[in-house]
């Protein structure tokens, strides 16, 4: 399924930072370890799509939830709105090339190798000054998301909660549809159009060498994974922002790197759906938005079918391809996550933190470990 990583956003504006000798509970998931098995499983499905790769790769060209490659290798599920030829060239040619490029870069770089895809995209984006690997990582992310944003027999209108949210934020579904189409058609060059759920405004994001506090160092020493593992420490502190809703979230990979962002969570009434457009490979996750659906406006996505008639392509997507089921699931996931609301001010004891995190375990994805520990900058 789509790759998301969600931050833990306490809804309360205050945030206590308990300083204790022993640490917050350890909630570790290691999705990256599952990937090699997944990759091997998926490999069997690829039939006529063998990769003669000698590189140990963690990212495989995922098949979307609907049947894209049949035994005869005829990806015609999205016909006639997206032709089989387009899907083949787009999926195997473009998306496949990005995956290969990414895997090659990962094989060479020890540091990049350990990240989940979401965080890889954010780290290589480097706050607007992207490294050369950003393009491949982000395009893999974008295309994974794109195939899953569509389905055969899609289009039409969303229902229930999704429709309610759209009507709340855009006035009516027609307004939203018009806005989406207009954004797509006024995009200069190559890029993507997104419907996102905005839950934070990211104030700053920086990379720096984090000097962990003595407590953090001890904790990491006692709990760090093997050298190929990831050891993210999500540290929430009301550092420099005592009574506001601003938080510093720091991601620390021992012996490797650290980056930190300061986010301001939006209050429940402020959270809303937005239509955004991005250039080239940029994705809204780099500034904290949660994507709901996207549309590829690079020419390769529509040229074979629609030539330069972008309007028809956008209409075909909205009327026949977009998967509102997927959008609903993503929105529900986003809502569930942000509504969790941990009041950090009442967390005094380690045990209560453990309890809360235990409950959350099933809902939170991408969260590796939580430690409420002060850190030195």
């Amino acid at each position: 399924m789509g790759c998301f990583s969600y931050y833990l956003f306490p809804s309360s504006p205050t945030c206590q930072v308990p300083v204790t000798g022993s640490f917050a509970c350890q909630f570790k998931t290691t999705p990256y370890k599952q990937l090699p098995t997944l990759f091997k499983q998926k490999k069997k499905q690829f039939n006529g799509f063998q990769r003669a790769s000698r590189v140990v790769s963690y990212y495989a060209l995922k098949t979307p939830p609907y049947k894209l490659v049949s035994d005869l290798f005829s990806p015609d599920s999205l016909e006639p709105y997206m032709s089989k030829r387009t899907v083949e060239v787009h999926w195997k040619g473009h998306h496949g090339a990005y995956v290969e490029g990414l895997n090659k870069a990962l094989a060479k770089s020890d540091i990049l190798y350990g990240y989940t895809l979401d965080d890889l995209v954010k780290v290589t984006y480097n706050n607007g000054n992207p490294s050369p690997d950003f393009n491949n990582a982000a395009q893999v992310w974008n295309h994974d998301f794109f195939w899953e944003s569509m389905q055969p027999g899609g289009g039409d209108m969303p229902e229930l909660g999704m429709l309610e949210q759209i009507e709340k934020d855009f006035g009516s579904f027609t307004n939203f549809r018009d806005k989406f189409a207009e954004t797509a058609l006024t995009l200069f060059g190559s890029g993507w159009v997104w419907l996102v759920y905005r839950v934070v405004s990211v104030l700053i994001r920086r990379s720096f060498d984090l000097k962990p506090s003595i407590f953090l160092k001890g904790y990491l020493k006692r709990n760090s994974d093997d050298t190929r593992g990831i050891n993210f420490v999500l540290v929430v502190a009301k550092y420099y922002a005592p009574f506001s809703s601003e938080y510093y979230l720091a991601y620390h990979i021992p012996k490797k790197t650290t980056y930190c962002e300061c986010v301001r969570t939006l209050k429940r009434e402020e959270r809303r759906l937005e239509v955004v457009k991005t250039q080239n490979a940029v994705t809204p996750i780099v500034w904290g938005d949660i994507p709901i659906i996207n549309l590829d406006m690079w020419e390769h996505a529509y040229y074979l079918d629609y030539k330069n008639d972008k309007e028809n392509y956008v209409n075909a997507f909205m009327d026949h391809l977009v998967s509102w089921n997927m959008a609903m699931a993503r929105l529900a996931h986003a809502e569930a996550f942000v509504n969790l609301g941990i009041d950090f001010s009442i967390i005094r004891k380690l045990s209560s933190l453990k309890q809360i995190l235990g409950d959350m375990k099933s809902e939170v994805s991408g969260l590796m470990m939580l430690a409420a520990v002060p850190f030195q900058v």
């Binding site: 060239v89 040619g93 473009h94 090339a97 393009n135 200069f188 060059g189 190559s190 890029g191 250039q279 080239n280 490979a281 690079w298 020419e299 390769h300 040229y303 074979l304 030539k307 330069n308």
Partner: protein
């Protein structure tokens, strides 16, 4: 200024339409060859779409933006003037770039692909070592360009040296410095997709077979003198 000379050449009759307010609009320049004349390097379908649809759209939107700019200037509406800049840069740049592009290409029968002679030929050898090196460099940079853009062979007016540059989207070469475009290769996907699909390197390999080095030489001589 370069814009006016581009527009006035090879336009049929009503190329320059002066409106009653004296506002000049632009129109699609004719191709100096048939759509199918560049086969098999570039298919006739692509040439027709590229010229009649894409270039025409840039011109239409460019004219619209210019008109809006004219109104904004008359009214003294600074924020509107500034807001129009990106549309003008994009559509106007598209017009400028494609007008150069059509002249950069020529059928094999009319000398397409023939290596440059004279001053340009020597300058290429001096600045890049050989024509092959230059071609390889431009093809590599073109293939590596992410998204949409152009790869150029330009002449630096100040240093009098030849340079290879890339620009994003429809940014004209002048946005990269005091450079005069000699040759431009469109690496937007619409320029090759129907024929080469996602294999941009093949497009970049074949386009040199219809490259009009003579035109590049003429521009070089004019600027260099």
């Amino acid at each position: 200024m370069a814009l006016r000379s581009l527009v006035s050449r090879k336009t049929l009759g009503l190329g320059l339409r002066l409106q009653f307010r004296g506002l000049q609009t632009f129109s699609l320049p004719d191709l100096p060859y048939d759509y199918g004349a560049l086969e098999p390097a570039i298919s006739g379908d692509i040439m027709q779409l590229h010229h009649q649809k894409h270039h025409q759209t840039y011109i239409t939107n460019y004219n619209k933006s210019i008109e809006q700019l004219h109104h904004a200037i008359e009214k003294g509406d600074s924020s509107a003037i500034v807001k129009l800049q990106s549309a003008i840069k994009f559509n106007g740049g598209g017009h400028v770039n494609h007008s150069i592009f059509w002249k950069n290409l020529t059928p094999v029968q009319q000398g397409g692909g023939e290596p440059p002679h004279g001053n340009l030929g020597w300058a290429i050898d001096e600045d890049f070592g050989s024509l092959d090196t230059l071609i390889k460099k431009m093809s590599t940079e073109g293939a590596a360009l992410q998204g949409s853009g152009w790869v150029w062979l330009g002449l630096d007016k100040e240093s009098k040296k030849l340079v290879v540059e890339t620009t994003a989207n429809q940014d004209p070469l002048v946005t990269k410095g005091p450079l005069v475009p000699l040759l431009g290769v469109d690496v937007w996907e619409h320029a090759y997709y129907l024929q080469y699909k996602n294999v941009r390197p093949d497009y970049l390999k074949n386009i040199w077979k219809v490259m009009n080095w003579k035109y590049a030489g003429e521009v070089y001589d004019k600027e260099h003198s």
